[in-house]
Symmetry: C2
């Protein structure tokens, strides 16, 4: 079983409006409701790829109930979320019909009480015992210590479970120092971590900070990997148009499934890039198109990269 | 018991953001969640005034459950909402911290099935038997016939229950023709109904179309009433600053409570204007400040108005 941790789960709402104008009133023509938070997205892609996956983190209130009801319908996915008194946040993506552009509104997460946090830690240790890999994903809700991911990385390493970290800012900086097996920052997160806007230099720097392997997601340019086995760049066969929401989470699912299947790095990267592109091409945000995925997988260019000077 | 009907109930969310910018990402600093829809707002004000009130209409899904959980905590209020398969809509008011201006996003209501509509009609007839007055409030969800309010007005009149109608557009036009005891349009709704932008002329015209009494809400200018007993203008003592959300619903509650208490028209209007102003002045949208209400009630100017030429 692959374990994904989403401490700040979300009920993701997508609203379609004609054109968002500040201080006006808008009729929403379409509402799409999905369980969200990065680790939840990763888990759904893993389940779609045929992996057994367990989701943990926190869920509470009516929004938490909505998430759990929807996760119950996903084959291969086990809900091991820890109930909390506060309500799971909503995120709202308002899509303009005219321009296709999106305006994002993100609620704050619920305040996590110390007893709830303690309950999660016990649960996490138990789940690690049955996990072939673990992904720690996304932001931290209020009440969760900023150094949390470092502790969760150490617990995974103690249990002998490979651990992937996908977060940003101070939680990423502290988490990297605990030596996770893999981090997957995007270009902004990588620059914030390392101070360098040059991706190759920055991925190498992130490894020096503690990550065994670093895979940077560079949007339409694909992935750049710096690993103990070598450095690669993996690029999609053509520029992909569509909705990039969830593309990074699909890349994480590709990397994680490749890890537990012990694929060589170039195959893991090809899978991650193809999944990511198939997510951009899917009409629904955060879903991927299996036919597009299969078609793209053999056409991703993976090339070795020389070390930065 | 006073009955309020809200066919298109809502879970009203208020989001505070620094400044809403289209196509950007925003952190919501504060979320307020309230049961909404005009008739629900009217009911909460009536309950706060000490009346026994029953709420009916439709509720469904997680959002419907959230509304019902919150209504359960209101003393004097009885929940007689009819369950439906579809989910109750959300409305989102995004308030800019910098300007204080509000951007509104309104989800569509749930599709009401014919069997659900039939269940409501049976329920409505039963509830009328115990009602001293009924308010029919707000928009119609998909699946509910546009002539619905006309039927509900006739059923109330057959049962000998005074009926107030507060809606807009075609449902108002058809509902007025069924001769409700009172309609409470705002200036825009009144102009749409009558084709006249001159409020005095328009209120008289609305009476000719079937309403026994018409009370138009004119924003900061207060109320203008055309009734079988006479015509009055009721104005607050000073211009009131604040959030006008729910002010019209508070006016409806004032008029309805005055009706069942058999107050003379000038007192009903003074109460409605004072409640409305106390709602604008309350920090939370749709709540009213009881101290402000008591203080303003004696200071509303109610003056007789001559007929329009």
């Amino acid at each position: 079983m692959i374990l994904t941790v989403t401490l700040n789960t979300a009920l993701d709402l997508t609203y379609r409006v004609r054109s968002l104008r500040p201080h006006a009133s808008h009729r929403v023509s379409e509402v799409i409701e999905r369980p969200g938070g990065k680790g939840v997205n990763v888990a759904r892609v893993l389940a779609a790829l045929g992996h057994e996956v367990t989701v943990t983190g926190f869920a509470g209130g009516g929004t938490g109930r909505a998430i759990r009801e929807r996760l119950a319908g996903v084959p291969g996915l086990t809900d091991a979320l820890v109930p909390v008194a506060g309500a799971t946040r909503r995120t709202i993506a308002v899509v303009d019909e005219l321009s296709g552009d999106t305006t994002q509104l993100n609620e704050p997460g619920p305040q996590i009480a110390p007893t709830e946090w303690g309950a999660f830690l016990d649960h996490y240790e138990e789940l690690l015992a049955g996990a072939s890999a673990v992904a720690l994903c996304g932001s931290l809700p209020p009440g969760v210590p900023v150094g949390t991911y470092a502790n969760l990385v150490r617990a995974a390493r103690s249990a002998g479970v490979p651990v992937l970290l996908d977060t940003s800012g101070e939680p990423l900086r502290r988490g990297v120092a605990a030596r996770p097996d893999l981090v997957k920052p995007n270009a902004d997160e990588l620059a914030e971590l390392t101070g360098s806007h040059e991706p190759l230099r920055a991925t190498q720097d992130a490894r020096r900070r503690g990550a065994h392997a670093v895979v940077a997601s560079l949007g339409a340019d694909g992935l750049l990997a710096a690993t103990p086995q070598g450095r690669w760049r993996a690029t999609p066969p053509a520029r992909v148009r569509g909705n990039p929401t969830g593309a990074g989470d699909s890349a994480v699912a590709g990397l994680l499934s490749g890890l537990v299947e012990r694929l060589p790095w170039p195959e893991r990267l090809a899978r991650a890039v193809a999944l990511s592109a198939a997510t951009v091409r899917s009409p629904a945000a955060g879903e991927f198109d299996p036919a597009v995925y299969e078609e793209l997988r053999g056409r991703v260019a993976v090339t070795g990269v020389a070390s930065a000077a």
